[in-house]
Amino acid sequence: MCKGNKISLLEVNENFLYTFAIMGQYAKLIDISKCVGCRACEVACKEWNETGTDNPADHPFGYQSHEDLTYRTWNVVKFYELGSKKNNLFTKKTDQPITKTTDLECDKDKFVAQYETLLGPEPSNLFVESETPETEEIKYSVWKVTEFFEQNSNITNPSEIPRWMFRKHGCMHCTDAACIKACPVDALTRNDQLGYVRLNVTTCTGCGYCVDACPFDVPKLDAGAIWGFGKVSKCRLCSDRIQHDKQPACVQSCPPNALEFGLRDEMIKLGQSRIADLKDRGYKEAYLYGEKELGGLNVLTVLPSKPEDFDLPPEPKVPEYLTTWKKVVQPLGALAIAGTALMLGFSFVNSLLQGSNKGDKH
């Protein structure tokens, strides 16, 4: 059945169930155009993988739950403000916080009219003085939206409209994975049958070379790794679930079906159809990220605009220094050490021979 295929003892358990059922690599499809930023995937991931919670003090208030992935957070929904930079809806918020609606230089009647056309009848308490800062912020946003459409009534391309976009960030499960090349103890390996990069936590030394190598900045070290305590962690594509014919936890939880999971070929077809649809709707730069990058990623992303807009490298690469370091410096170093050992061995034998030739001298 699997003649010629070497399957190590460690892998048997993992591959056994799929020996008969493997039909090809699997992939996860992230559709940014559908994501509503609810972060159910983050919660589901934490719940299934029991990764625990981060210290809230390390993650001050912001739109995102975390600025970046952490040792305990294997996926993060990243928030991006896209569209015309000049009319960015939320720049004002960070520059100088609005404390009262009356601070805004706007015509009250006009504001109410705009509000009603956009959001329905004006609530009676819209201009009550005693309000929380949060409701003030919402009102300010509404005001900015109305102002924007007033100034740019001729917008035709939807990607020019300022808007939030959400990208679920996590391991891309690359075919040509830099982390695997960087790992000195083979703790990171790739399951090519199912298509994911697994991490053997027992073997991991926590050296962090994968953290430096990953072009997506995915693996994260535990706190204290600097002193040799703590290891690396990252998404495993819920390998335990998919081997039992279940979808990954994040996919299972996604309310608007922005996440899909299935055979990679099918996911590529689905993604391409989404791209075609987005292009029809005016998103000219829509792109299926991961189809060809790094030999093919097993996490595909439907991007409504350029990869750079979502902090993704347009051409991700395995860092070049890995070749210099692992293929030149280290083999030469090993050769130097072996050469010295051989030379000393020769010296010892030679000195004994010379000693016996010399007879009783010394």
Binding site: P184, V185, C207, D212, G230, A334, I337, L344, Q354, H362
Partner: protein, 225 residues
């Protein structure tokens, strides 16, 4: 008569002179232990054939222990006898004409061929080279190792240079260590000096033969037991 002469010769050959002081031996031992620990655990991340010996994070913790030992080692000398260290350093960094000649002939001597070596002081030119290599390599290890620990706060571009420099230093250190250990433990001419690092003494005969200038200058007058 012949027996008396023989006895006298035996007596001379049994005489030992102090060469390395106690605090220097302590320092050397701690440095050696630290080096072995750091080199052994470092090789686990260097050569994939040793990956099963990593013991998870244990190898990395021991690597830091090794580094701490190596950093602590020189303070035993500096703290105990600063003047002595200064004198040693002056000797180490001075290469005389004989020393240069010694270095030229040293490879053949290392390889076990008979070679007539020039007269040497307390440290021969090879020992001086080893001492300098250890000193500068140690300083380099502190820099590259320390920066590697702090690399999350450094620009991303720094990592390749640091790790490659650290690896090259490790190779230099390990090769140097092997040659040093070979001369002390195995080489038929010099292994007599190994006891110097245990109890601090070398045979009088050895001091006269291998460190003749040192013997003439210091041992003969002051230190003769």
């Amino acid at each position: 008569m012949a027996e008396e002469i023989n006895n006298a010769l035996v007596k001379v050959s049994e005489q030992r002179v102090e060469r390395i002081k106690l605090h220097e031996r302590i320092s050397h031992t701690i440095n050696a232990l630290g080096f072995l620990l750091a080199a052994g655990t470092g090789l686990v991340l260097f050569y994939k054939g040793l990956k099963r010996l990593s013991g998870g994070t244990r190898s990395r913790q021991l690597h830091r222990v090794g580094a701490a030992l190596m950093i602590a080692a020189p303070f035993f000398v500096w703290g105990k006898d600063w003047q002595g260290w200064k004198k040693t350093w002056r000797e180490i960094t001075y290469f005389s004409k004989e020393d240069r000649e010694f270095l030229k002939r040293a490879p053949m001597y290392m390889l076990g061929f008979p070679a007539k070596m020039p007269l040497q002081g307390k440290f021969n030119a090879g020992q001086k080279m080893n001492f300098l290599m250890v000193t500068f390599n140690a300083a380099g290890f502190v820099v590259t190792g320390g920066l590697l620990m702090l690399r999350r706060h450094l620009p991303e571009k720094a990592f390749p240079y640091l790790i490659i420099a650290h690896d090259i230093q490790a190779v230099i250190g390990i090769c140097g260590f092997m040659a040093h250990a070979y001369l002390a433990l195995l080489h038929p001419d010099t292994r007599a000096s190994f006891r110097a690092i245990i109890d601090g003494t070398v045979p009088l005969e050895y001091a006269m033969g291998h460190h003749a200038l040192w013997y003439e200058d210091e041992v003969k007058n002051n230190n003769n037991p």
